[in-house]
Symmetry: C2
Subunit: 299 residues, 2 copies
């Protein structure tokens, strides 16, 4: 049985996009509950200015509250200052985010693509010197909301640069959920051919109800590591135009049915979905949740 690694991003990518303000203590508790289900990797925080992203305030408190041996915990860092804060907090893995287009980088972190590339490279190089695992996201890797379709050669080039700067792993992100499995096949086939599947990961959003089909296609291309978000946090899949993450329960359900090992207890995961509802104050849950609940109720 082949193993697929699930990287849970709900506590960061999910909660950052929710209207509820969840305290660092509650975020750490959520992470502990997620890890208790068997999830091996969690994106736990973002070391950004609390003025710019108030939802992520207290990233150091979240990291300090965790048993860092319990799972592969990573933290997002937008710049060298964020990196220094993450290191000071004790983070063992950091991730930089490089958007594939100039406009998206400006909108996201107020830097052009060339500057972002330089900053990301510097952080990755510093992380390597510090013995911290450095990862990179290439975001809006298929379609940018401002510049439209992103050419494949650019994603390949940026991925190449991130590896060259010392990235341990590069995650290719369909940040706005605009990709279809045909595009995923083309892009990931080229990526796997050049870099091998082992150091690549995929991040999908379910805006167009294609996240599972895209994940399946990426699996077919050999990808064995995926981001997902408990309950699809980060946007409700049923709301018009919502851009929620691929729900962890949807991904794990697909993986188990298709014969992959994840180490995750799906029934325990459903209890965390219920817990997440109480944290964010509204209904959450992936597309498979009704079926999963009825199956476990019948069991």
């Amino acid at each position: 049985m082949e193993t697929v690694v699930v990287n849970e991003v709900g506590p960061r990518d999910g909660l950052q996009n929710e209207s509820a303000q969840v305290t660092p203590g509650d975020r750490a508790e959520l992470i502990r509950r997620l890890v208790a289900t068997g999830i091996p990797a969690v994106e736990v925080a973002s070391f950004v200015s609390p003025k710019a992203v108030p939802k992520m305030a207290g990233a150091d408190e979240v990291v300090a509250a965790l048993d860092l041996d319990a799972a592969d915990f990573s933290a997002l860092v937008p710049n060298m200052k964020g990196y220094e804060m993450a290191r000071a907090a004790g983070a063992r893995a950091v991730a930089v985010v490089l958007s594939a287009t100039d406009t998206m980088n400006r909108k996201n972190i107020n830097m052009d693509l060339t500057t972002t590339l330089r900053v990301c490279s510097e952080i990755l190089e510093q992380a390597r010197r510090d013995g911290i695992s450095g990862r990179a996201y290439v975001s809006v890797a298929v379609t940018c909301p401002f510049e439209g379709r992103v050419p494949e050669f650019r994603v390949l080039d940026l991925t190449r640069r991130m590896f060259a700067a010392g990235a341990f792993e590069v995650t290719i992100a369909d940040t706005i959920g605009a990709a279809n499995p045909s595009q995923v096949k083309e892009l990931f086939t080229a990526l796997v051919e050049e870099f091998g599947a082992r150091r690549l990961a995929a991040h999908f959003h379910d805006t167009r109800a294609l996240a599972l089909a895209n994940a399946w296609q990426a699996l077919e291309c050999g990808i064995r590591k995926f981001d997902s978000s408990i309950g699809g946090l980060g946007g409700c899949p049923f709301a018009p135009g919502a851009a929620g993450n691929l729900a962890t329960e949807d991904l794990v359900s697909l993986l188990h049915q298709a014969g992959f090992h994840t180490g995750i207890d799906l029934e325990a995961l459903l209890e965390v979905v219920t817990h997440v509802r109480s944290l964010v104050g509204h209904d959450v849950g992936g597309r498979t949740l009704p079926w999963l609940r009825s199956r476990h109720a019948a069991a």
Copy 2:
């Protein structure tokens, strides 16, 4: 641009499983609206005993109300009596249903597998003599609710027999929506290898939110004809344990994004979804509907 044929089954497989009783006149009107969107093929009726399946009463009235040149209309026939009725009504295409397991055939039409095979073969042979296009369904082709996992060799064998009896086309149906893309890949690869993709079609249900991933995998295997149901009629995808069909709007949305031609106007299809709501008296709609509606509202 490659063409994929969508066979709309909402007026039969969909409405048969709804609690609302829709009159033959309203069913014919629904079919006309579907065809007006560009849908090339519709399963319009089932020639069964109205005592056994009251929802399908008036199949002959539905067929009589249609312009038979407008699209490829087919009717389900469970036995020779049903076939004779369909022929008398003027049907140009009929479909027989052969469940892959003994128990499912008994539960579905009160005949064992051997008897069903004989009856289906007789109907297909008679249809050929009559110049009527005969199709066959191999249903519960992946998992049977009574007998569990169905062995691949049996589906291959039954498909072989249906072609030998004169079937023009065989549709492989995951009737309860229990298949995953890994199983779809294995089964359809074997089917396409033996029979070629051109005379095969696929029928998926969305019980586990995998219908689109399964459809994508079948496309990858070369399948170019799919059943789907407007609004996902035949069970709400959001209800626990529901077994709705793959929604036509979900399928067409996937196909258009992935670069296939269907001839279907997706925006017009959304209006038919609204019409279907008024027919069945409750909310319907595939998983992509919120996104599709927001996109067309923004356009």
